[in-house]
Each structure stands twice: as C-alpha cells, then as structure tokens.
C-alpha cells in the first residue's frame, strides 16, 4: 500500500514537473517580446526593459532559465505578479481556500444528487423513473453552467431575494455551489447509471440473488459496493472538471477564487500569474487524483493487495 501511494505520488510529481516545463515554455511561445508585453507600461524606457529582462533572467539560455525557475520553485517562490507586483504564491493562497470551498460544496451536491439519481435510474432501468432521471441528466449536461448560474441568480437573488449576492460568507456560497454541483450531478448521474447497469449485469449480482438475499443486501452490499469502485475512479476526473467549471462559475457569481483571478490575469497578460495559476492548478488536480486513487485502492481489494 505504501508502495502504491508512493507510486501515485511519484506520478503526480511527474505531472507537476511537466507542468513546470510547460509553464516555462509558455512565456517563450508568446508571439512578440514577452518583456515588452508584460512590463511595457507607458513610462518604461528600452534600458529599463533590458534591466527587467536581466532581472528575470530572460537574457539567458532557456535551460538555465528553467533551472533557476525550478530552484526558486523549490523555495516556494512563484515569482511576482506584474499587476500590483505581489508574490504570486500569496495571491494564490489567499484565493485558493475560496475555490476549494466552492469545489467541495459542489462535489458534495454533485455526489449526493448525481449518484442517487444515477443509482435510482439504473435500478429502475427501463421504467419512466429511469427515463425521467436520464432526461433530467441530459438536460443538465446540456445546460451551460453560466446560464444556469444566471437563471439561479435571476430567480433566487434578484427576483425572490432569498439569498445574498455580495459578500463572502457561506450563504453566498449556496448559489455558485448549486450551479456547479447540479451541472456536475448530471454528468455523474449518467456515469453512475451506466456503471451500475454494468454491475447489475454481472454474474456476482446474479449469484447474490440466487442466494436469496434480500433486495437491500443485494443492492447495497453487493452491487453498490462494487459499483462504487469505478465511480470513485471517475470522481478524480470529476473533481478536475469541477475545478475547471469553477473558473466560469466564479466569474458569474463574483466568487473570489483562483478561477476568477486567472481570467483577470489572462486579460492583463500577467504571465507570472498565469504561470503560477497553471502550475498550482495542475498540482491541485494531480494531488486530488492521488487521493482518489488511494481511496479507490481502499475500496477495491484487488488493487490493495497487489
């Protein structure tokens, strides 16, 4: 098991490592002179630009730049933002808990709604319950997050005025989390349904039924326990999608997370911020997938012991 975790961590590390390379290359594939684009504010002279170039090490061969970048990374230095000239890591760390809170709340909603819906549909396969659940799910999949968000905002905040709209407390988490959670619940419902249908067709479920076990035992002990395995495996992916979706939803609801700030950074061409964001995001997603893999291994004895 330790070995397994170590392997997964190593894989995550490779992901992050490749992310560092990608992020270093990013600045170099930008057409034009990155320094001018980044720092060319209205009063910088060519000499000052050159000085910045030297300060950032952009005058050196790319592999030296990369080595230095790695060196700074290891000390937790992600560079400084261009807008406002602040440490990138600080900015990320301030905003990350907000995104994490949103992602987690949405995940809970997505799992609660999506998995029960999918399970119900699979169990009632072929009935109107199944059809209804799947129509709901496919409509959910087709609905753009941001539109759903706007509709919810229009309904609950502006028209009914049930929920607050400005402010960072948990009440204002409800709408964005609902938006993101419902959109992902739809995806999860479809995945759960097909996973569970596969499981229901398995020989071992037939065996369990042949043993005369009660419906509950067959469903929960045999089918769901086994069905959870592939579903949990999908959760890692789901989390990544959630984080991605958060970028959009944060912008709709003015949620002060990394996603909203990433968009601002793209507009401002604040490359150190963009670099930091990509690296950070890749790390978070990679870590999440390690956690999911480990959870997966705990659920599936076939992995646990090999």
């Amino acid at each position: 098991m330790t070995r397994f975790i170590a392997q997964r961590l190593l894989a995550a590390l490779v992901t992050v490592w490749i992310a560092t390379i990608a992020v270093t290359l990013l600045v170099h594939v930008v057409p034009g002179d990155p320094v001018r684009i980044m720092y060319g504010s209205f009063q910088t002279t060519p000499e000052e630009l050159e000085a910045i170039r030297v300060r950032l090490g952009l005058d050196q061969p790319i592999w030296i730049q990369y080595a230095k970048y790695l060196g700074r990374l290891l000390q937790g230095d992600l560079g400084r933002s261009i807008v406002g000239d602040q440490p990138v890591l600080d900015i990320l760390l301030v905003r990350f808990p907000m995104t994490l809170a949103l992602a987690m709340a949405s995940l809970v909603i997505a799992v609660a709604v999506g998995m029960s819906l999918g399970f119900l549909a699979a169990y009632k396969r072929g009935t109107w319950v199944d059809a209804g659940a799947m129509i709901l799910a496919i409509v959910g999949v087709s609905m753009p997050h941001f539109w759903l968000g706007l509709l919810l905002l229009f309904l609950f905040a502006l028209t009914l005025q049930w929920l607050p709209v400005a402010g960072g407390d948990w009440m204002s988490l409800i709408l964005p989390a609902l938006t993101l959670g419902l959109a992902n619940a739809a995806v999860l419902a479809r995945m759960t349904r097909s996973a569970m249908i596969d499981i229901f067709d398995q020989d071992f479920v037939r065996t369990a039924r042949a043993k005369g076990l009660s419906q509950t035992l067959v469903l929960y002990r045999h089918a769901l326990r086994s069905g959870l395995v592939p579903i949990v495996a999908m959760l890692g992916l789901q989390f990544a999608y959630l984080m991605g979706g958060a970028i959009v939803v944060e912008n709709v609801f003015a949620w002060n997370g990394v996603g909203r700030f990433a968009i601002e950074a793209v507009f401002a061409r604040d490359y150190p911020l963009i670099q930091g964001f990509i690296l950070f995001f890749a790390t978070v997603v990679a870590l999440a997938s390690v956690i999911v893999d480990v959870a997966y291994a705990f659920l599936d004895p076939r992995i646990r012991y090999s």
Binding site: V14, T15, I18, A19, A22, L26, V29, V30, P31, I138, V139, V141, S142, M143, P144, H145, F146, W147, L150, L151, L153, F154, L158, T159, A240, Y241, M243, G244, G245, I247, V248, N251, A262, I263, A265, V266, F267, R269, Y271, I274, F277, I278, F281, A282, V285, A286, S289
Partner: protein, 301 residues
C-alpha cells in the same frame, strides 16, 4: 470448451443465417432513427444546420444593424425574441449565431479529432517506449484539464473566437488521444489483428485497413459528443470575454452582454441560453443515438 454466444440461433453448422440477418436493421441510419435520442438529436442538429445555412434568407433583420428596432423591446410579433440594448433583433442574431456555433463545432472537433486520432493511433500501434512516453505526456496534459489548457493557449495567442476555437481544439487533444489509444489497444488485442499480422500485412495496412475502421466508430460517437462539449466551452470562453468579440452574434457572448440587463431584459439572457442548451442537447442526443446505433448488442436486439 467455451460456447459461442454471438449468434446462438444458428447452431447447426452451415444453415444459412438468413434469420438473424433479417432481424437486423438495414442500415446505420435506420438504426439511428429508431432510437428516440438519435431521432431527436438528428432533428435538432438538422435544424441547427438549416438555420446556419439559411440565416441570410430567414433572418427577419440584419443581425448587426443597430437600431433595427427600438432598444430593449420585449418579444413582439415583429421581434419574436425581442431586441437588445442596441435595438438589434435577437432572433436574427441567434440565427446567424448558428453559423458560428457550427464553425466552432467543426473546427474545434476537427483539430482535436485529427491530432488525437493520430497521436492515439501512433502510440497504440507502436507500443514500447514511444507509446509510454506519448501516453504519459497525454495523461499529464489531460490532468491539466481542458479549460486550463485553453486558457494557456489564449494567454499565448490572445483572445478572439478563432483563437478560442483553436484553443478548445488543442485542449481536447489529450482526451481524443486517450480514447483512441484505449480503443486501439482493445482492437490490437483482438485476434483479427493478429490474424492480419499473420497474413503478412504491413504497418500501413494494419493501421489503415484494420485498425482505423474499427477505431472510427468510437471516434464518431466521441466526436459527436465532443461537438457539444466544444460548443459549451466556446460559449463559456465567449461569456468570459475570451472568445467572440463584438459584434459577432455568438451565443455565449450574447449571454454575457445580457448580464447587466438581466432584470430589465431577461429575454436577452433566456433565448441565447436556450439556443446553446438545445444545441448541446441535440449533439448529446445524437451522440447517444449514434452510440446505440453502432453498438452491435443494441442493434441485434
């Protein structure tokens, strides 16, 4: 001994299998039309294509002309979906927007499908180091998630609808590569592939005559579903201001423009949103339908 399960009816040896052949639908299209999702999907997508092609004819107004009507006019007989804050006809804009949406679907999926297919085929066919390195890279890119890759691309190329299409295309290459790779691995493991190798087939024949046709059906399904993802993603980017630029009547961009007017002119938000949702729904249903129609298990039933 194991038993034959695929066509158990024709157990006695050489009796012609007319019976089972008769039970099969004549064609893929017939199978597609028989599944409700396929049918609805096809109708929606068909409508979209028709709208896109005939927009110049059927659109009641010029989508770009300002003050074509009064500003912020709620839906009326003249302006079925109302007008926006410049007095432009929302319906006409949505009809023209279908052109952009189709373009997004074709270009984005075209890029990701072509590159992903190539990558997946090469990796899956070659095995060994090439495969491992390629797939490891693809896995890593995949874990970056599409939106981040798209953001990175936009940070490099700058914002704009064309760039957004390309960015989305690039961003989903890893996904298509993965799907292709896994299908190739499955197909490569099937005896027919070994049979072809044993018959003396060379690399090109193995890849293009044997693997490709067996990989393509899955990719058609994935590609159809992929159009819906691409349309959503592009609308998302446009909504964030990273995609379409004014005055393009892109639906996501129209939605984003409606934000400030959400309570005064809800029709500006409702109709483009519906257009996106229905289109995405259409491609999703079509994809499901194609999947069902291509699945021999479903077809034989």
């Amino acid at each position: 001994m194991t038993t034959e399960t695929l066509d158990p009816r024709s157990a006695d040896a050489d009796a012609p299998v007319a019976a089972s052949a008769r039970r099969k639908p004549r064609s893929f299209l017939a199978a597609l039309l028989r599944s409700p999702s396929g049918l609805i999907g096809l109708v929606i997508v068909g409508l979209l294509v028709v709208c896109a092609l005939t927009a110049p004819v059927i659109a009641p107004h010029d989508p770009l002309r300002m003050a074509a009507g009064p500003r912020l006019q709620p839906p009326t007989w003249d302006y079925w979906m109302g007008t926006d804050d410049f007095g432009r006809d929302v319906l006409s804009r949505i009809l023209y927007g279908a052109q952009l949406t189709l373009q997004i679907g074709v270009i984005a999926v075209g890029i990701s499908l072509t590159c992903g297919l190539l990558l997946g085929l090469v990796a899956g066919y070659s095995s060994g180091w090439t495969e491992r390195v390629l797939m490891r890279l693809v896995d890593v890119l995949f874990s970056f998630t599409e939106i981040v890759i798209a953001l990175a691309c936009l940070a490099i190329f700058g914002v704009g609808l064309t760039n957004a299409m390309i960015a989305i295309g690039i961003a989903s290459i890893p996904f298509y590569a993965r799907v292709t790779h896994s299908v190739v691995l499955v197909e490569k493991g099937k005896p027919y592939f070994e049979a072809a190798t044993a018959a003396g087939a060379g690399h090109l024949r193995l890849i293009f005559v044997h693997l490709l046709p067996n990989v393509v059906p899955t990719l058609i399904v994935v590609g159809t579903l992929g159009v819906s993802t691409a349309v959503l993603a592009a609308a998302g980017l446009s909504f964030l201001g990273l995609g379409a630029q004014p005055p393009e009547p892109e639906w996501g961009f129209m939605l984003s423009a409606s934000r400030d007017l959400i309570s005064r002119a809800p029709w500006m938000m409702i109709f483009p949103g519906l257009a996106i949702a229905v289109t995405v729904l259409g491609f999703n249903l079509l994809g499901d339908g194609v999947r069902e129609a291509l699945d021999p298990r479903q077809r034989q039933r």
